[in-house]
């Protein structure tokens, strides 16, 4: 019997992670106990503005940092016209209909709204975008890196001490500690970077370095190298809104520094708390379904559409590279 395993890999992003924005959390409290949180949180800690609490960005930056009109999907193919503005969703996301569409955005890139790629890097970005399904680390539940973790459509919690500020992000157990005191750097490059903070008046300024080159900025294929260096600024605009700005430098990829900026909003629901989003279990079918003994997800039958999935497994030495996420 010939082996059915052939040479390359196709996976279909049916994972709920691709939808992102439609996940809604509605937690109802039926107990008679009143929430006590707001009174316990002082406006200042250690003489500095208190950023503690649960926050979330409310924009489309995770789809694409740059300004764009709404799109049929993140992966598209030519329609009946040769125009770029008349493409149609490609097979991996077709069954999601409008839930797989990309909403329009005013963009969060400051200045002229352009990301100053070097020419060869811009080609890489376009290649990334075309290979979104295979390459976006978000779809594998990998760490989102900074700044992406700050504007994914999921809440995160800031716990502000006097020498450390800890940020725990709901997505995939992502976390980082901002060191306000002196610490040694990390032993190796990291997905989330090494964050060192100091105060500039009432603004928290964070210097982030020691990145690896694995994370993306968004679902549009915007990427960086291990030379990435960020300068973040957090300023309270009001008790429930943070102005978040980042200066992004990466001399291997960009011709000059560029900036993004956006508000972050406090999740003011009573008794708000982070829930788990341990998605690595959810993406096992996406990532490893091809090496199951029997194919599990094969066929879906709707009333107007049937979807058939063919799995492919990369051969031999390519096998390892695909899971490493860098091709």
């Amino acid at each position: 019997m010939r082996r059915r395993i052939s040479g390359s890999m196709i996976t279909v992003a049916i994972a709920a992670a691709a939808l992102g924005a439609i996940v809604s959390m509605s937690i109802t409290r039926t107990s008679a106990q009143a929430p006590a949180a707001p009174a316990a949180r002082p406006a200042r800690v250690g003489g500095k503005p208190n950023f503690s609490g649960i926050w979330e960005a409310n924009n489309e930056a995770n789809w694409d940092l740059q300004a764009h009109a709404a799109l049929p999907a993140a992966v598209t193919q030519p329609g009946v016209y040769p125009f770029d503005y008349a493409r149609v969703p490609a097979a991996p996301v077709l069954a999601l209909g409008a839930a797989g569409a990309v909403p329009g955005s005013l963009g969060v890139v400051q200045g002229d709204g352009q990301i100053p790629y070097k020419p060869e890097a811009l080609l890489m970005k376009k290649d990334n975008a075309e290979h979104w399904i295979d390459r976006d680390p978000e779809l594998k539940c990998y760490l989102p890196g900074i700044p992406r973790a700050m504007y994914m459509p999921y809440p995160f919690q800031i716990t502000q001490g006097t020498n450390k500020i800890h940020m725990a992000y709901e997505f995939s157990n992502t976390a980082r500690t901002i060191h306000l005191d002196k610490v040694a750097g990390p032993p190796d490059d990291t997905w989330m970077g090494h964050s060192v903070g100091h105060w500039d008046g009432d603004t928290l300024v964070v210097d982030v370095t020691n990145f690896n080159d694995r994370s993306w900025f968004d679902r549009a294929g915007n990427f960086h190298s291990d030379a990435l260096h960020l300068t973040e600024r957090f300023t309270l605009m009001s008790p429930d809104i943070i102005r978040y700005e980042v200066t992004i430098e990466d001399p291997k990829v960009f011709t000059q520094p560029w900036r993004i900026a956006m508000p972050l909003y406090r999740r003011v629901e009573p008794n708000m708390q982070l829930l788990e989003f341990r998605c690595n279990e959810f993406v096992e079918e996406f990532m490893y379904g091809g090496v199951r003994k029997q194919q599990l997800v094969k066929h879906w039958e709707g009333e107007t559409m049937a979807v058939d999935i063919t799995r492919k497994v990369p051969s031999g030495d390519k096998f390892y590279e695909w899971y490493g996420g860098k091709q």
């Binding site: 395993i5 949180a37 800890h166 279990e281 096992e284």
Partner: protein, 410 residues
Amino acid sequence: MPDRFSRSMITLAIAATAAGAIISVSITRTSAQTQTASATAHTASAKSSATATALKTPWGEPDLQGIWTDESDTPLQRSPKYANQEFFTEAQRTELDKERAALLGRDRRVERGTELDVAGAYNAQFMSVKHTGARTSLIVDPPNGRIPPLTPEAQKISAAEREFRLALLQATQTCKNKSVGCAGGKYDPTPSPRFAEPPPRYNTARMNRRDNPEDGALPDRCLTGGLPEFGGATGSFRRIVQTPGGIAMFYDVGQGQGWQRNIVMNGSPHLPANIRQWYGDSRGHWEGNTLVIDVTNFSPKTDYQGSRENLHLLERWTRTGPNTLEYVVTVEDPTVWTRPWTVKQEFTKQSDDENRIYYEPRCIEGNYASPGLMHGQRMAEAAFAKGQGPDPRISDNATDFVGVEDDPLQ
């Protein structure tokens, strides 16, 4: 290339923990020993209120902040021969350290080309062996330092899991040789028809099948890390950061299993019963100088010594000195154990400056082995189907280390 390695420590891997089971250490002693009331080296009992008051955050809460780990090795359960002796004597500790250190110098590899040699995995520097701790067990209640008996229901479930795993081993050399890994099982040259069955419950432990990712043990799938967390050979660290009315804990355990605990401190009730989580739901409040955390809502996909969704923990965290923190947890699950049991552990503060926590404890981004394991099985199955290799089901891909090394202290 210049020599980059200085002659500092020689440390070796102690890796029997890989099987996921706890192997109690049984130390043979030749001299009679007297029970001592307490170990002089034990500092966790120092509850000087003056010290405790001084260790407060600027806003007046007890300060639990820092990176904390247990700097010594203590078995979870007390060896029966110590009966109700809670602490080792100094002499016992010294002797234990000597014996364990002597093991570090041993040099054993089995015959090349055998599965057992493959199972030995890699050089032994990847794990950490610490000094023997003051206590004879982490468990302080019941007084014999051992986990209470299982309920009849739990015994049945445990037996069903064991039978299933033994069935998958029945055609292997492990069972043919009546090796320890097949204890309670039998040999049959024909692979069991149970290879086609799902396991009795959601699988969390090793089994001799690799048809699907779900056949992997939780560590294979980077799904470990959870509560209660008592330590392991690759380290167990928790970083605590506090803010008025809030506390965050980030754990670095196992092989890159990093996870967050967001302790809810606002007095609200636990999550509704339909929300189950891997790490449970932690609700905390202060009782004097102690942080008390109640954890419920565990997922049926977790497993701690057989306890799953009915696990309930009550933790007590107390800063006992400038560099020490006492952690006490009562573990209960009336469907599994006939009574609750309590662990006491002392953590020592680690230097923040040296970045003692592995900076980014992550597992999934580098888990090339999980698909590799399945891919290997698919290749073996394909070869067998073509008559070019043995039936993969007669090879034991579940047991490791058993048989590679005989524990000289047992």
